[in-house]
């Protein structure tokens, strides 16, 4: 009779060696580039460039705050199989490095051809000009990393993604470029509509829960008007809220925007006391049910802003 240890070892070996052939997606996805993006925005933008030639998955779900995602081994399984990893950069998704370290996939290590930092070449806002420390909260020392919801950044982000895809599959460059051009044309077309929608509110101040929408505001001429968080990542104190409400009243701020994972009730209470409205914006694709694609997400945010400022 064989020992249980030997039987178990043989079973595990058979499972491991035979499993790749059993994977249902394996045959279909064999000739596609397997791309993993850290966020749903980057997933959507990668799909826009890659089209049918790529199979894209994201690590964070749309309804998860990408600041401090829990590093689950299931994320390592995704990265383990990836040809290309697209990261947001600017220290938003530093947790992805821990995922990469646990995935044992040299193709997507920092500096490898299978790594794209989507923030390359972007003009980064809110880069600290003086010394920063944690007394200022969870500040990002290299600037505000929430750039993906600004549709004007789509050109550069997709250019970075295109470069990454072409590095791995140069023969598909014409197809990738065609997809990107078609996508940017759709963004260009929508941009006129979004600009017209928000044009009447140029210069209006908007209070945020966390500074997620600074790029979107800057793009369309809105002005950042304080935050419900005391400092980034630090819950509001009564004193801070009282000062914020006072400021909102003095400056006649009409709108508070909040991400779905933050305290919407608190935002409503602040807005109620300051005589303002609250709108839940989508900080990423899939964050709210209307945000089903990149264009839909920007569209939803623009409509919500206009509706709240009206």
């Amino acid at each position: 009779m064989r020992s249980p240890i030997r039987v178990t070892a043989i079973a595990i070996l058979a499972l491991v060696l035979g499993a790749p052939g059993l994977l249902p997606e394996n045959a279909a996805a064999a000739d596609k580039l397997r791309v993993v993006a850290t966020t749903t925005d980057l997933k959507a933008l990668t799909e826009a460039v890659g089209g049918d030639l790529v199979d894209v998955d994201s690590l964070a779900r749309g309804n998860q705050n990408p600041h401090d995602l829990e590093v689950r081994p299931s994320l390592m399984v995704k990265v383990r199989r990836a040809d290309l990893l697209v990261v947001n950069g600017l220290e938003l998704d530093l947790w992805a490095e821990v995922v990469v370290q646990g995935a044992n996939n040299p193709k997507v290590l920092p500096g490898a051809p299978g790594r794209v930092d989507a923030s390359e070449g972007l003009l980064v806002l809110e880069v600290p000009t003086a010394k920063v420390d944690r007394s200022m909260g969870d500040v990002h020392p290299v600037g505000n990393p929430h750039y993906t919801m600004d549709p004007g950044m789509a050109a550069q982000i997709t250019a970075n993604i295109l470069n990454g895809l072409v590095r791995l599959q140069p023969q598909s460059r014409p197809a990738f470029e065609k997809n990107r051009a078609a996508f940017l044309a759709a963004v260009e077309q929508a941009m006129g509509r979004w600009a017209a929608t928000l044009a009447p509110f140029k210069g209006a101040k908007v209070v945020q829960y966390h500074p997620v929408f600074v790029y979107l505001f800057t793009r369309f001429g809105l002005v950042k008007g304080g935050a419900i968080e005391d400092r980034p990542g630090i819950p509001a104190t009564p004193g801070h809220l009282s000062r914020l409400i006072q400021e909102m009243k003095q400056e006649r701020i009409k709108l508070v925007v909040v991400e779905p994972w933050n305290d919407v009730k608190l935002a409503e209470r602040v807005a109620g006391e300051a005589g303002a409205k609250v709108r839940v914006l989508a900080p990423s694709v899939g964050a709210v049910k209307e945000a089903t694609s990149y264009l839909d997400t920007v569209d939803y945010n623009v409509r919500a802003l206009a509706d709240g400022l009206r």
């Binding site: 399984v77 193709k107 070449g121 806002l125 369309f220």
Partner: protein, 475 residues
């Protein structure tokens, strides 16, 4: 006359429109002010971006292998401003093994960083413990923190340096200082290792001094654990410091649709509590299998099995088997788990020397010295609840742990129960307050200074801070 009428009408018009014009002027002034502010911000931003690009160009020009990407200029001009042109980069190269083997300059990994910045991360974690217990426990040095009863002390002040060495390897170095006995601060090398990341067949090799990946908590530093103190079973079977060894670990992630990681390790065997032979000729060999399953959108469970087998200081074989499980329930939209449950079990098969016994009291052993096998085991289970989703209340948590363990060599066993509450003003600062009740089956082995302790009640306090960089923690 006509001209007089004209002048009169013009004057009237100007006078009548004066209040409206004043309002317009005020509004225009405000808009101008805002535009000036925005322009200044944009100008500063562009200057920095230009500087960065200049530096990057310099770097790229000095590189032997130019990068593929040539980004289009950023479009921060007022909408619409979507650049349609494809990036004019040189033909990209497909990923081949040669790509991985080609030397690259380390600074290329940090293109976004400015001059004068370090090429690695650095952080300090501080962990302070306070405990209050009975006088007899203090006298007998029989508390959870033996020799430091009724004291407030730094358990672990850790300086961590970590980052990429080059494209193929990363390293971490951790130096710790902590109180080991009353007032005595010991400085020690906690970890210093490098990991080769680009090995074939999806393997990684970690070598140096490290906390072994045996079980759930051993590889985690004290300040990052779910509990104030180390579970009793770990303290008894692995020692107060845990299993920290010098050698190498090879990991492999299986090409399966679910996570399965296998690990084998070879070490000196320097842990005096469990192994201690300290020779590679008689090495401590470790192994671990770890798997993970998502249970819907909210739940997830990790299961692991570990083995460590080496020789003790007495040159006898000691084999430890470990089994562990961890479950987290994080409702959709929550930024922290609502419920965390975890537990570990260790089973020991250890050969020990047993001295001959004097059965008739004549001072001469009546049975010969011999070796015997000690099959001993212990376990713990615990958890934490953070019941509030957002706001200040979300910073509070409450948890518990139950311990039961036999002693590895001497006779007897003990159990303990410990509830605690925690409060984290931010993710870099945490306080915990807990109570722990321990009952031992025997006083033997817990007597010192003519005192002993079978039942121990302790109030435990923990304050933990993090300065600077700290890597995200695995599940």
């Amino acid at each position: 006359m006509r001209s007089l009428v004209g002048i009169g009408l013009l004057s009237a018009g100007v006078l009548m429109s004066a209040p409206a014009a004043a309002q317009d002027v005020e509004a225009l002034r405000q808009e101008l002010q805002q535009m000036r502010k925005q322009f200044e911000a944009m100008r500063e931003g562009y200057e920095k971006a230009i500087d960065r690009l200049g530096e990057r160009i310099q770097q790229l020009e000095t590189r032997p292998q130019p990068a593929a990407a040539t980004p289009a200029p950023p479009g921060l001009a007022p909408a619409p401003a979507v650049a349609q042109t494809a990036p004019a980069d040189p033909p990209a190269i497909a990923a081949t093994p040669l790509d991985l083997a080609r030397p690259r300059q380390p600074f290329a990994l940090y293109g976004n960083r400015g001059p004068g910045q370090l090429l690695f991360d650095m952080g300090v974690a501080g962990d302070f413990i306070g405990n209050l217990t009975q006088r007899n426990v203090d006298k007998a040095n029989a508390g959870t923190f033996a020799g430091r009863e009724n004291r407030f002390f730094p358990r672990e002040i850790e300086l961590a340096l970590f980052g990429q060495i080059d494209p193929y390897a990363r390293a971490e170095v951790r130096v710790e200082a902590g109180e080991e006995d009353q007032g005595e601060i010991a400085l020690r090398l906690a970890e210093a290792n490098l990991t080769l990341l680009s090995l074939p067949f999806n393997t990684q090799l970690k070598m140096g001094q490290m906390r072994n990946r045996f079980g759930l908590l051993n590889s985690i530093h004290e300040h990052d654990r779910n509990f104030i103190d180390a579970p009793n079973v770990l303290r008894w079977f692995l020692g107060e410091e845990g299993l920290v060894e010098r050698g190498a670990e090879l990991t492999w992630v299986a090409p399966l649709p679910f996570f399965l990681e296998a690990l084998v390790g070879v070490f000196n065997g320097d842990n005096e509590d469990a192994f201690g032979r300290g020779k590679l000729s008689e090495p401590l060999v470790t192994g671990r299998l770890r798997t993970f399953f998502e249970l819907g959108d909210a739940g997830a469970i990790q299961l692991g099995a570990s083995v460590a087998s080496g020789e003790t200081t007495e040159r006898h074989r000691n084999t430890l088997l470990g089994f562990d499980a961890k479950y987290k329930f994080t409702p959709v939209g929550w930024q922290h788990p609502l419920i965390t449950l975890l537990g570990e079990m260790i089973y020991q098969i250890r050969r020990v020397n047993v001295l001959g016994e004097d059965t008739n009291g004549d001072g001469v052993p009546d049975t010969p010295d011999q070796t015997r096998v000690r099959n001993r085991w212990g376990w713990y289970a615990g958890g934490e609840v953070q019941p509030f989703q957002t706001g200040w209340l979300s910073r509070f948590g409450a948890g518990f742990r139950y311990d039961w363990t036999q002693y590895p060599v001497m006779r007897g066993r003990e159990w303990a129960v410990g509830p605690f509450v925690s409060f984290s003003p931010s993710e870099f600062l945490r306080f915990r307050l807990g109570y722990k009740h321990t009952e031992r089956a025997t006083r033997d082995g817990f007597g010192d200074n003519e005192s002993s302790a079978r039942k121990v009640d302790e109030i435990l306090f923990q304050a933990t801070f993090i300065l600077g960089a700290h890597p995200a923690h695995p599940f």
